[in-house]
């Protein structure tokens, strides 16, 4: 077999890994959409925000230091201590829960019974707001995020697969981070499924997805449910933020992973958790393979930007209900 074939496989594996990342973000979307019918464009920014906070806490950065300096001419930056990753993560998580609470209190509460499109717009507004806010709080410079997840190529795998190909194949290069990400993602997904299957709240969440009245009958107010959902979404965002952050640094571009997740949603459907995962994988693999086989050689590369969308688009044209949605019978 030619080396290229194995490189192909390597690309495939990396695609899977990337796909997992996509699924992670997509998951956040799905959770919120299921529970509140809101298409939360801010999901990506939430990841960025989470990552920023995490770094900030770890490195003991003073929030809003830039603003303070700019206004009062002071020159403060750090508290001067470093916080262990674990506590920082807990702190950030609290941050995200607080955030969820605020969002419900100041935004969602006032937008009940609005058309979906309006809610969608609101989340775009929210995204803008948080992006600016995050930068004001922590500054917009690129930060390195390290919570102790091993990085760099996985030597073991590389050495032990080198034999497969010919002389010019050196084994699969796969980043440890991606492997860990996959593991975390898997755990997260399982946890979520267990949660929604076996806990009262979880069942309530599922009920809300079907209809809001039902949720109330379960005895949990819509508003609490929203807070919970957004907190979970925040948690998912945090995980995603950590992974992407440690991979490519924490900066504005991180928020763009949201855009990566959208085609996944189209593929998997806005309401299906498995859809989000499978969709993510398909997109991940698809765009990597397309770039490897067609994009790079013939189209001058950088096709990842749009391939996912085109794929989803074409797919939808032929199957409008998405991967897991059942056929829609239109009634009048």
């Amino acid at each position: 077999m030619s080396a290229n074939f194995y490189y192909g496989i390597e690309v495939f594996l990396n695609g899977l890994m990337a796909g997992v990342m996509y699924s992670l973000v997509a998951l956040g979307f799905v959770l919120i959409f299921k529970a509140s019918g809101i298409f939360n464009y801010a999901q990506g920014v939430m990841a960025l925000f989470a990552a920023l906070c995490l770094v900030g806490f770890q490195s003991g950065q003073i929030p809003f230091s830039h603003v303070i300096n700019a206004t009062f001419g002071t020159d403060i930056h750090h508290f001067g201590w470093h916080m262990p990753a674990f506590f920082a993560i807990i702190l950030t998580l609290m941050m995200m829960i607080l955030f969820a609470f605020l969002v419900e209190k100041f935004l969602l509460k006032h937008l009940v019974n609005q058309e979906p499109i309006i809610l969608f717009m609101a989340t775009i507004g929210l995204a803008y707001f948080m992006e600016g806010f995050g930068d004001l709080m922590w500054g917009s410079d690129i930060k390195k995020l390290d919570v102790g997840i091993p990085q760099g190529g996985n030597i073991w795998l590389e050495t032990n697969t080198a034999f497969l190909g010919g002389p010019d194949f050196y084994g699969f290069y796969i980043d440890n981070l991606d492997i860990w990400a996959t593991i975390f993602a898997a755990i997260l997904v399982i946890a979520l499924i267990l949660f929604s299957q076996y806990t009262k709240t979880g069942r309530a969440l599922r009920a809300v997805a079907d209809d809001h009245q039902a949720a109330l009958s379960v005895g949990i107010s819509l508003r609490t449910i929203w807070v919970i959902v957004w907190s979970i979404a925040g948690f998912v965002a945090l995980v995603a933020g950590i992974m992407w952050g440690s991979k490519s640094g924490v900066q504005f571009s991180l928020s763009l992973i949201a855009l990566k997740a959208l085609p996944v949603l189209m593929l998997g459907g806005f309401t299906s958790i498995p859809g989000a995962i499978i969709g993510g994988l398909i997109i991940g693999v698809g765009e990597k393979m397309f770039e490897f086989l067609i994009g790079a050689p013939f189209l001058g590369g950088a096709t990842e930007n749009w391939f996912a969308y085109m794929l989803a688009l074409l797919f939808l044209v032929f199957r409008p209900q998405g991967l897991f949605g059942e056929k829609i019978i239109e009634r009048v």
């Binding site: 019978i329 239109e330 009634r331 009048v332």
Partner: protein, 272 residues
């Protein structure tokens, strides 16, 4: 049932040959059979009612008639010709208009505009001339406005001409919807439970309008109702459906005698 010679009704209307014939229609959703081998015809100038308990498949039948559902078996004959696979909007252009059980008005528009949409099948002017609001476009607009105003006058809804339909009470919305259907000057008018959820007074009004429409414009009307009451007074002939099957067909008088019908109605009421 499908004799074709024209005859006079007692009240002096002329009933012509069949406008639409349903031939052995069968409709399934996946495994569920909504309509099972039903045939009947609708004759020119008559008021034809399709009645039956909830879930008898009436609405599905209406959706077959105006091409929104495509039956797995059976033919729909329109003006004696077999109807091929067509899109609803093409069928509308053939001269079939309808109203909806749960009102399907365009919430964002005024009464006037809603009824004007009923004229769309009659408006041909091109994009360019519309953009300029010149010549044909403006003439067309005015001409059709005149037609619509006649209908507004006919339905006695002048006072709500420019009110957004969202703000109207239920009964009036039903009337506006009838207006929208009338505006198309249909050869066949389908009414889906025109009196559903109305109080007695509104029902009386609506029946009056239905009769007037049939009388003034000679429009052929097929309507669905699930309670026999009003329908029996205004319909010339009635089809009775139950569980997707036809269990009776004939003049109100005949149908009233029909044992199967009596059972379906007086028997255990089943709703899905």
């Amino acid at each position: 049932m499908t004799q074709t010679q024209t005859y006079q009704t007692p009240d002096g209307r002329t009933i012509g040959p069949a406008v639409m014939e349903m031939k052995n229609i069968t409709l399934r959703f996946g495994g569920v059979v909504a309509i099972k081998d039903i045939s009947f015809d609708i004759r020119e100038g008559e008021i034809r009612a399709i009645i039956g308990p909830n879930g008898a498949g009436k609405s599905s039948m209406l959706n077959v008639m105006n091409g929104f559902y495509h039956p797995q078996d059976g033919d729909v004959m329109f003006h004696g010709k077999k109807r091929g696979p067509m899109k609803p909007h093409q069928i509308a252009k053939q001269g079939i208009a309808r109203t909806f059980q749960n009102i399907a008005l365009f919430k964002g528009m005024s009464t006037l505009d809603n009824i004007m949409t009923g004229r769309l099948t009659h408006m041909k002017s091109g994009l360019a001339s519309q953009m300029m609001w010149w010549g044909s476009a403006q003439r067309e607009e005015t001409a059709n406005r005149e037609v619509v105003e006649k209908i507004i006058d006919f339905l006695e809804i002048q006072t709500i001409r420019k009110t957004p339909v969202g703000r109207l009470p239920y009964g009036l919305q039903k009337r506006v919807e009838l207006g929208r259907a009338l505006a198309a000057e249909p050869k066949l008018l389908l009414l889906d439970e025109p009196m559903a959820g109305m109080n007695v007074e509104e029902k009386e009004d609506m029946s009056r309008f239905i009769l007037d429409v049939n009388d003034e414009f000679g429009t052929t009307i097929a309507l669905i109702e699930h309670d026999m009451g009003v329908v029996m007074d205004i319909a010339d002939r009635v089809v009775v459906m139950d569980y997707g099957k036809k269990i009776g067909d004939g003049t109100p008088a005949e149908v009233r005698q029909d044992q199967a019908v009596i059972d379906a109605y007086l028997g255990v009421a089943h709703d899905e």
